[in-house]
């Protein structure tokens, strides 16, 4: 597989700014298309929001009504709606303009349990959601009504619409990527990402965790890892590229070792490179940028435990669990028990 070679990016590292303090752990962070609203799903059943203007971030009231984890959120392409999905199966839509934060619609049991992934179609008219119930639900963005239910057959961890809007791809725990025709709900083909799955003892480990398409849809990138063990989860971060026409694949990123963990979030930058985060053993992880044809990332910023990131132009916000987040047994005296939290790290990519 050959990739077009974009202009050589500047080699200087992203400029880190002081992180934005957040008192909860966050699952997923996304930026509105106009760059004015940053939203993050949390481990505590809310969507945190920040108004952004220049370098300033002003926190807005959180969106409430979810349960468990809000692991999947996405903005509509026109930026007018925000969609959020939680681990108890609720799917909600919110008007970005509504500062009072009432959902425009909310489906309490869109899925039976944990929704891992949510993707909005390029025309903004529908969305796909999937999770532990092993189905993919296609939902109308306007009113939340179900359009299709696709039988995925496995625990789906990642979803993305093809840029032409005609198909959606799902990635599952067992390392299978399926492409589905949105119009009739039929599966078109499968891509093999089995390298991202391990059956260790009785545990299913790894899976396809995130996707990004190039803007023209010619290449699909799948992020995950090559798991080496279950339980502790030693895993080498991995990104595979699939040719949309032929289905052929190529490994475009492999981490240095199995302490580096799993690629948990992935985006395609319009300047022609992938951006990703991987999080490994507690305290380890990095944000990096890499042209598919390059041997090594041209940017790599070490961060403790990054899990998700959003970008607008050259600005990148990375959500990462605090350092020193792990440890056996009690922390401090009995009765005290601090939780972890996810500061937002602000990076400025060189233009």
């Amino acid at each position: 597989m050959e990739f077009p070679v974009p202009p050589e990016p500047k080699k200087s590292p992203p400029k880190p700014s002081p992180p934005i303090a957040v008192d909860q752990q966050l699952c997923c962070i996304r930026w509105s298309p106009d760059g004015k609203l940053l939203a993050a799903g949390s481990f505590e059943g809310v969507v945190r929001r920040w108004g952004t203007s220049g370098a300033s971030f002003t926190e807005l009231p959180a969106l409430k009504g979810h349960n468990g984890w809000v692991q999947a959120i996405a903005f509509a392409p026109d930026g007018k709606q925000l969609f959020s999905a939680d681990s108890w199966g609720r799917l909600s839509a919110w008007s970005v303009a509504d500062i009072d934060a009432k959902p425009t619609w909310s489906i309490p049991a869109a899925h039976d349990g944990w929704i891992h992934a949510l993707a909005v179609s390029p025309d903004g008219k529908q969305m796909a959601t999937a999770g532990r119930d092993r189905v993919i639900r296609i939902t109308a963005a306007a009113d939340g009504k179900k359009v299709h239910t696709l039988t995925a057959g496995e625990d789906v961890l990642a979803l993305a619409y093809h840029p032409d809007g005609k198909s959606v791809v799902s990635g599952d725990l067992k390392g299978t990527i399926k492409q589905w025709n949105v119009a009739d709900g039929k599966m078109i083909r499968e891509f093999d990402a089995k390298v991202m799955f391990l059956r260790d003892r009785i545990q299913d480990v790894g899976g396809v965790r995130c996707f990004a398409f190039t803007a023209d849809g010619s290449t699909l990138f799948a992020g995950g890892s090559q798991p080496k063990t279950g339980a502790f989860v030693q895993a080498i971060p991995l990104i595979l590229a699939f040719d949309s026409k032929t289905g052929s694949s190529k490994e475009i990123f492999r981490g240095a070792n199995d302490n580096e963990g799993i690629v948990l979030d992935l985006h395609w930058h319009p300047d022609g490179f992938v951006m990703a985060v991987h999080s490994g053993q507690p305290g380890q992880g990095k944000f990096f940028c890499k042209r598919p044809s390059d041997a090594q990332p041209h940017f790599a910023q070490a961060l403790p435990n990054p899990h998700s990131f959003a970008f607008h132009g050259q600005r990148v916000i990375v959500s990462a669990t605090n350092a020193n987040s792990s440890g056996n047994g009690r922390v401090g005296g009995k009765g005290e028990y601090p939780g972890n939290y996810s500061p937002l790290h602000v990076l400025e990519l060189p233009s």
């Binding site: 909860q24 752990q25 481990f43 505590e44 059943g45 349960n67 468990g68 984890w69 692991q71 681990s87 108890w88 349990g113 944990w114 532990r132 625990d155 725990l173 260790d200 003892r201 009785i202 545990q203 299913d204 480990v205 899976g207 279950g230 339980a231 502790f232 989860v233 895993a235 963990g261 799993i262 999080s279 490994g280 053993q281 507690p282 305290g283 992880g285 403790p304 435990n305 899990h307 990462a320 669990t321 605090n322 350092a323 987040s325 792990s326 440890g327 056996n328 047994g329 009690r330 922390v331 009995k334 009765g335 028990y337 601090p338 939780g339 972890n340």
Partner: protein
């Protein structure tokens, strides 16, 4: 003269031969309380399910949904009104009417190396002697019963063999016979090239050599060696126990084709055959990373065969005699680390049990709202050993070990049984 490694009450000192001899007049023996006690105790059995590495209490028996540390999963109601468990345990929820959950465990060790042994030895305070694992203790107190099979069988993944270390100061003869992947010990059967007469002759020669060897030496290792040969002889008579083709396809489907399912199905067969103590170990529960996908994969694979064996033992009337225990060496931290995992947490965790001597459909103890600490009376492993011995009809107040002349309590004297879960 050194005392033997027998516990002090006379009834526990009965050998299998003595017991069999007495059984000739069973009708009369049953009428005598002392012998009735012995018979009752010898019929007790234990199924001990060990989830090595640490099942998360928050993703199993003590969910805290919608709290800071609660994780992504929901809690579901069980067959017992008012009791909820994680949504990862739908089948266990269905059989909750047979179960007792303890949510107030607070133990000493947050490392595997110390925790696995200390928990299974029931020694919360570490008194400087190596206590026997529960399986060895039960093997000593209850013996083989009338099954003629090894009293302590350990079904586990990977390798098997005779595991003397479990016995601690009881001596190696009370060790575990481990069946690697549920298979019979290697070289169990007499080679085809050897006649039965030759086999008898070589065993007689070995016995003779053992007797001479032990005259001037400590007898423990020789006893253990003899025990292994005796076990082999016993198992040769019951080769049918290892015939997996005898399981109904429906049962294989109910239990699952993975290691834990297959091993629990074999455990059912061992219990039906009369094995006194059957331990089933599942490895790989130490989910420091990606805990929620990890426990999300693991817990359902425990849930199905666990509920299936509870139902099967109940339907066979065996829960009246079999004590079932499902546990790990500790729980997992409420705090979610940067690897999206949970670390080791001995401070507040849970276990489940069922069967003989145990109340049905109850929860004992509770943790606070966030699941960080025990909010009721804390219970160390010593409390559980008192409870289990009592459930098996063994009174820790009247029974003690004799460690080469050193009397030792069979369960920690600073602990007491959880009467709230004893029937």
């Amino acid at each position: 003269m050194k005392r033997s490694l027998l516990c002090t009450p006379v009834e526990h000192g009965l050998s299998r031969r003595q017991w069999l001899g007495s059984a000739a007049g069973a009708a009369f023996s049953l009428a005598a309380p002392a012998f009735a006690d012995v018979i009752r105790k010898k019929n007790k059995q234990v199924l001990f399910i060990w989830l090595d590495g640490g099942i998360s209490q928050l993703e199993s028996w003590d969910p805290k949904p919608n709290t800071q540390f609660g994780g992504p999963f929901r809690a579901i109601p069980t067959a017992v009104p008012g009791i909820h468990v994680s949504e990862l345990l739908p089948n266990s929820a269905r059989v909750m009417k047979h179960l007792a959950i303890v949510r107030s465990l607070s133990t000493q060790d947050n490392s595997h190396s110390a925790g696995v042994d200390r928990i299974q030895r029931g020694d919360p305070k570490n008194r400087g002697v190596t206590y026997p694992f529960l399986g060895s203790a039960v093997a000593k107190f209850l013996g083989s019963g009338d099954s003629g099979l090894p009293p302590y069988i350990w079904i586990k993944p990977m390798n098997g063999g005779f595991i003397p270390k479990d016995a601690g100061f009881l001596g190696p003869k009370y060790g575990a016979l481990a069946l690697g992947d549920g298979k019979p010990p290697e070289n169990l059967l007499r080679p085809a090239t050897m006649s039965a007469a030759d086999d008898i002759e070589r065993n007689q020669l070995r016995d003779l050599a053992d007797k001479r060897y032990v005259e001037r030496r400590r007898k423990g290792n020789v006893e253990a060696t003899k025990q292994v040969f005796d076990m082999a002889a016993q198992l040769q008579q019951r080769r049918d126990l290892f015939d997996s083709s005898s399981f109904a396809a429906k049962d294989v489907e109910r239990y699952g084709s993975h290691d834990l399912g297959r091993h629990l199905l074999l455990a059912r067969k061992m219990l039906e055959a009369g094995v006194t103590f059957v331990k089933v170990t599942s490895y790989g529960w130490d989910t420091h990373g990606d805990n929620f996908n990890g426990q999300g994969s693991l817990v359902p694979q425990f849930d199905r065969p666990f509920a299936a064996i509870i139902e099967d033992l109940h339907q066979r009337g065996m829960l009246d005699n079999v004590l079932v225990i499902a546990m790990s060496e500790f729980g997992r931290t409420p705090r979610i680390n940067g690897h999206l995992g949970r670390d080791h947490w001995p401070e507040a965790w849970s276990l489940a049990m069922a069967g003989t001597g145990i109340k049905k459909g109850v929860v004992e103890g509770k943790t606070n709202e966030k699941g960080t600490w025990v909010a009721s009376e804390e219970h160390d492993i010593g409390h559980l050993f008192h409870t289990w011995f009592r459930a098996l009809g063994i009174d820790p107040k009247k029974t003690e070990y004799d460690n080469e002349g050193q009397p030792l309590p069979i369960a920690h004297e600073g602990c007491k049984p959880l009467t709230e879960v004893l029937a």
